[in-house]
Amino acid sequence: MTRIELAARGRLRRRLLLGAAGTGALVLGPVRLIAASIGGTAELGFTELPDGALADQSLQVLPGKVPLIRKTARPPNFETPIEYFRTPITRNDAFFVRWHLSSIPELDAASWVLTVGGESVQREQRFTLAQLRSEFEPASVNAVCQCSGNRRGLFEPHVPGVQWGVGAMGNAAWRGARVKDVLARAGLKDDAVEVVFDGADRGALDGIPDFVKSLPIETALDPDTLIAFEMNGEPLPPMNGYPARLVVPGWTGTYWVKSLVGIRATPTPESNFWMGTAYRLPRGKFRTPSFKSQVKEANEPITTMVVNSLITSLRAGQHIQRGRPIGVRGLAWDGGSGIARVDVSIDGGATWRPATLGTDLGRYSFREFELRVPAVGKGAHVVMARATSRAGETQVERLIHNPAGYHHNVIQRLPVEVV
């Protein structure tokens, strides 16, 4: 745990306890941990995963990791179980794993070199990890990394692809060198339109397109866009991109290239498969910003995350004693404006009350929320949480279906039973 995380946790807990005591409400201990499941989503009040995904996934251990939900083995795609989302910062050893290609190199920090070049720089540069650490002003940011397809398995009708539940995401304190500073050392030219990032992973066969992503020049030059060599105060786990990965706060995980080995500034749009064909949305369906140099007639690349939340303190069908509060607690996040509010309903959306937000760890971070609502009447209650961003975006009631299964931010409907 980082110092900032510990401090934040302490502050939030104190504030919530004081708040509850001040209103005369019953002060309970920490929210009871629910045993690890194998990642079914019906128990969270969502559509269930496809039969095949549910039957096939299991908890398995990767090097340096706690048991995670294995979606696929080769290339490895592993999801974080829900119990690790009960803190605003996600542990490194529980952070989800997502690789596109099956040949994943084991990089050695001592010999690792990052090449910075391309048509739009004056002089190609090569940096060792030691140089990256010592020759640039270090920068830090708390930021959510969420796979574009997180919750794809909840799409109805189902769409092909990795059938993620809710755990293809995590929030960490990232530390590294700014991309803008590294590009400046190479002498960035005015004609740069995009910056292209290459990871060390490869396909099993020569014909498989290498995983290469690009960013608009203005996003690459954002002071929060980092080449991160630390995650929560530790080196990155190999499965999360050791020794250094790209961190693009607010943008979906596809741009966060792991095990970064090359950076290239270019005056022309990158057209490889991963930019030109994959990770695209139909135009006009979402209000996220456009990646202008990559827009095509029918579609455009996914960019920033949509506002979302996850209730982590309850499971569907849970019994709650009448007279005791229903403890609704969880996390909210968006694409970088920050969370303005989270509203909670225990009557299926008929009435809403504002939840208490946890400490603000930055506009790119998970934000905790909590509300204890007295359970007065017996019977079924549908618990919901609805996050609203500072940009005024809010979660949707009905899924905005799209062919690749991105941006699922449908409001959770979690049924509990007051007995």
Partner: protein
């Protein structure tokens, strides 16, 4: 500067598996990129797939990825959906599957990992 090894995941162990048949370990399912290893992966994939006509052709998928990719996407794709997926693997990802095999692979996947046909 780098070694491409399956040892990255060699210490992976199964903690919990769904009730039923044992599954190959993660280390077994991960392959290095040599031709021999790819051939072995295809053979192992064949053993894992439902024993029916078309299995050998479908096992070609295992050269590049584990077969949980197939099981995970079941049972909701019909023939058109599986055909699209197989074509995408060939056209976008360079899967070494002859065009002539597309129909047989898609039909096999539909029958064994696809959406159950509506009963009349």
């Amino acid at each position: 500067m780098s070694t491409h090894v399956a040892s990255v995941v060699a210490c992976a162990i199964t903690v919990a598996v769904a009730a039923g048949a044992a599954r190959p370990s993660l280390a077994q399912e991960l392959t290095p990129t040599s031709a021999a290893a790819l051939k072995a992966a295809v053979q192992a994939s064949s053993d894992e797939l439902a024993d029916a006509p078309g299995r050998e052709k479908a096992a070609q998928c295992g050269a590049c990825h584990s077969l949980d990719y197939i099981r995970m996407n079941s049972r909701f794709l019909e023939l058109a959906g599986w055909t699209t997926v197989v074509n995408k693997m060939i056209n976008a990802f360079g899967a070494p599957i002859p065009k002539d095999d597309v129909d047989a692979v898609a039909r096999y996947l539909t029958e064994h990992y696809g959406r159950p046909a509506a009963t009349p």
